[in-house]
C-alpha cells in the first residue's frame, strides 16, 4: 500500500518538470503534430495508391484515399512476377542469401574487431579506430570503383559474393559495436580471466551476451542495407539479380503498371520499417553509445 502511494506521489511530482512553460509545451506538440503529418503524407500516399484500382489512380482531380480499396495491385504483381523470365523465387533467394550471408559475416568480423579495439590496448589501436571513423564517411559510390576492381581481381564479378564480401567490412557496425563494448567494465573481463576463461570464451560468453543491443542493431542496419541492394554494377546475369532490382524493373514498367509500382514501393518499405518498429528499443540503446569522443 505504502509503496503504491509513494509511486503515485512520485509520478505527480514528475509530471511537470521545472523550466517548462505550458505555452512552450503546447507549441512543441503543435509543431511535432504538423511535421509528423507532412513527414508521413508521402508514405500514407504510397499505401493509399497501392490499394487503388487502376481507374482511381488516374482520376482527375486525384484524391488521397481510395474509394474502393482493393488488393488487385498486389494480386497483379504476383501475376507479373510469375511471368518473369527467370522464376521469381530466384530473385527472392538471391536477396535472402545475400542478406543472410552478408549480415552473418559482418556481425562476425565487426564484433571480433570491436572486441579487440575496445578492450585491448595495442600500438596503433587509436590510429586504427580513427581510420574507422574516417571510413564512416565513405559512401557506397566513392568506394564503388576500388571495390569493383578488387572483386574483379578476385574473379568474383557476377557472383553473389561480390555483394556479400564488401558487406563484411562496413564500418558502421564496427563503430557501433566498439562504442558499446567500451561500456563493459574491464573488471568483468579480468575476473573471467582469473577464473581461467580463454580469450575466445570471454568473447563468446561474457562480452557478446552483454552487447546484445549492439549486435541486434548491427544486424538490423546490415539487413536493411542488403535487402535494398540493387548491385546492378557487379551482377549481370539475370538469374543472380536481386529482388530489389527485379521489383524496380516492374516499377519502371510504365503507366499500365502504375498500380503494381505502388504495390512494389509498399512492399519494399514495409520490411525495413517493420523491423525497425520491432527493434526500436534495442537500436536506441545502442545509439546512445554511438558518439565520437575526442
Amino acid at each position: 500500500m505504502r509503496k503504491q502511494k509513494i509511486k503515485k506521489l512520485q509520478s505527480i511530482a514528475h509530471r511537470r518538470s521545472p523550466n517548462r512553460s505550458r505555452a512552450g509545451d503546447a507549441a512543441i506538440y503543435l509543431m511535432l503534430g504538423l511535421t509528423a503529418v507532412i513527414m508521413s503524407y508521402p508514405l500514407v500516399f504510397a499505401l493509399a495508391a497501392s490499394l487503388k484500382p487502376l481507374d482511381e489512380l488516374f482520376r482527375f482531380p486525384p484524391r488521397l484515399l481510395p474509394v474502393n480499396p482493393t488488393f488487385d495491385n498486389f494480386a497483379d504483381l504476383v501475376v507479373t512476377m510469375g511471368q518473369s523470365w527467370v522464376p521469381f523465387g530466384r530473385y527472392l533467394t538471391n536477396t535472402v542469401l545475400i542478406t543472410v550471408l552478408g549480415t552473418a559475416g559482418h556481425l562476425f568480423v565487426a564484433s571480433m574487431a570491436a572486441f579487440v579495439l575496445a578492450k585491448y590496448d595495442f600500438p596503433g589501436s587509436k590510429t586504427f579506430f580513427r581510420l574507422v571513423v574516417v571510413a564512416l564517411m565513405f559512401s557506397g559510390y566513392v568506394t564503388g570503383i576500388p571495390n569493383y576492381l578488387m572483386i574483379s581481381r578476385l574473379g568474383l564479378v557476377d557472383t553473389l559474393w561480390s555483394v556479400v564480401l564488401p558487406a563484411f567490412a562496413a564500418p558502421i557496425g564496427l563503430f557501433l559495436m566498439k562504442q558499446f563494448m567500451e561500456s563493459i567494465p574491464m573488471a568483468l573481463i579480468e575476473s573471467a580471466k582469473i577464473d581461467g576463461a580463454s580469450e575466445w570464451r570471454i568473447f563468446w560468453q561474457i562480452v557478446m551476451p552483454n552487447v546484445k543491443p549492439a549486435w541486434l542493431t548491427l544486424i538490423i542496419f546490415s539487413v536493411q542495407g542488403l535487402w535494398n541492394a540493387r548491385a546492378q554494377t557487379v551482377i549481370y546475369s539475370e538469374a543472380k539479380k536481386t529482388l530489389t532490382y527485379a521489383l524496380q524493373q516492374i516499377q519502371a514498367g510504365g503507366l499500365a503498371r502504375a498500380g503494381q509500382a505502388a504495390a512494389v514501393t509498399v512492399i519494399m518499405m514495409i520490411v525495413p520499417i517493420a523491423i525497425f518498429i520491432l527493434s526500436q528499443t534495442q537500436i536506441l540503446e545502442t545509439m546512445a553509445s554511438s558518439g565520437i569522443k575526442e
Binding site: R20, S21, S139, V142, I145, N228, P272, I277, S290, G291
Partner: protein, 267 residues
C-alpha cells in the same frame, strides 16, 4: 584500402580491358579545366550539401529534442514516423507521382484547381524546378542515423544535471539546452555531423530516380552522378577515381571544419 587503390588509379587511364596506363595529373587537369559538366555537378552538389546538410542536421536535432519531451509511448511512435522516410528504401519514388508533370500529378492538380497556375508545371524536367524539388525530398529524408543517435543521446543525459541546473538558476528550456544538453551531447553531435556530411555530399540515387539520368541540361547532375557516369557507363575508371578522390578530400576537409566548430559548442 579502397581509398588508396582509388587514389592510385586516379593518376592513370584505366578502362578495365587494357592495363592501367600512368598519365600523371591529366585526369585532374581535364576534370577541373575542361569538363564543364563536372563543374555543373560540383555546383549542384554544393548547393545540395549547403542547404540539406546543415538544415537537415539542425532539424534532426530539433525534432529529437522535441520528441524527448513527449511521454514514452508517444515518443516511440514519433521516432518511427520521423525515421520512416529514411529507412523506407526507395519510397522517394512516391515524389515522382506527387510532382508529376501533367495535371494528374498531385501538386499540379492542386495548383490548377485552386487557380494559382493554369498550365501544369514540369517539376522534374524543367531545369528551373529540379533542384528545389530535390532539396525538398532530401530534407524529407534527412532524419537518418544521426537523428537516432540524437534521440538516444538525449534520453541518456543525466536527469540530476537538469535538477542541479534548476537549483543553479537555469530558468527556461533554451538555457537548459545551451548549458546542459548540448555539452552533454557533444559526442553524438559529432557522430551526427559525420553522417550528415557523408549523405549530403553523396546524393545521387534520389536525383537519378526523380529527375532521370542524365537529367535535362544536367540541372540535377551531382558529383556522384558524374562519377557513376564515367565509372559505370563509360568505364573510364581512372577518371572516375579522380572524381572519387576529390569528393573524398572535400568530405574530410568539411568534416574537420565542422568538428572544429562543434568543439566550441556550449563551452
Amino acid at each position: 584500402m579502397p581509398i588508396i587503390t582509388s587514389i592510385r588509379y586516379s593518376f592513370t587511364y584505366y578502362n578495365i580491358l587494357e592495363p592501367a596506363r600512368y598519365i600523371g595529373l591529366a585526369n585532374y587537369i581535364n576534370l577541373i579545366l575542361q569538363d564543364d559538366i563536372f563543374l555543373i555537378s560540383v555546383k549542384n552538389t554544393f548547393i545540395i550539401a549547403v542547404i540539406t546538410g546543415p538544415i537537415g542536421y539542425i532539424l534532426s536535432f530539433m525534432f529529437a529534442w522535441f520528441i524527448n519531451e513527449l511521454p514514452r509511448w508517444l515518443r516511440s511512435l514519433a521516432v518511427v514516423i520521423f525515421y520512416a522516410p529514411s529507412i523506407a528504401g526507395n519510397a522517394y519514388f512516391i515524389f515522382s507521382i506527387i510532382f508529376r508533370g501533367d495535371v494528374y500529378g498531385y501538386l499540379n492538380s492542386f495548383l490548377v484547381r485552386t487557380g494559382i497556375i493554369n498550365a501544369p508545371i514540369l517539376w522534374l524536367t524543367d531545369p528551373r524546378y529540379m533542384m528545389p524539388v530535390v532539396v525538398l525530398v532530401l530534407l524529407w529524408m534527412s532524419m537518418g542515423t544521426g537523428f537516432l543517435a540524437f534521440v538516444a543521446g538525449l534520453k541518456g543525459v543525466d536527469q540530476a544535471q537538469y535538477e542541479a541546473g534548476y537549483v543553479d538558476g537555469v530558468r527556461n528550456r533554451w538555457q537548459e539546452l545551451y548549458y546542459i544538453t548540448l555539452p552533454n551531447m557533444r559526442p553524438m553531435l559529432l557522430f551526427g555531423a559525420v553522417m550528415s556530411i557523408t549523405s549530403a555530399f553523396s546524393v545521387a540515387d534520389q536525383t537519378m530516380a526523380l529527375c532521370g539520368y542524365p537529367s535535362t541540361d544536367y540541372a540535377a547532375h551531382t558529383v556522384v552522378t558524374h562519377l557513376f557516369d564515367y565509372g559505370y557507363t563509360r568505364f573510364d575508371m581512372g577518371y572516375a577515381s579522380a572524381i572519387a578522390t576529390l569528393l573524398f578530400l572535400t568530405m574530410i576537409l568539411t568534416n574537420k571544419a565542422i568538428q572544429g566548430l562543434l568543439k566550441r559548442v556550449g563551452t
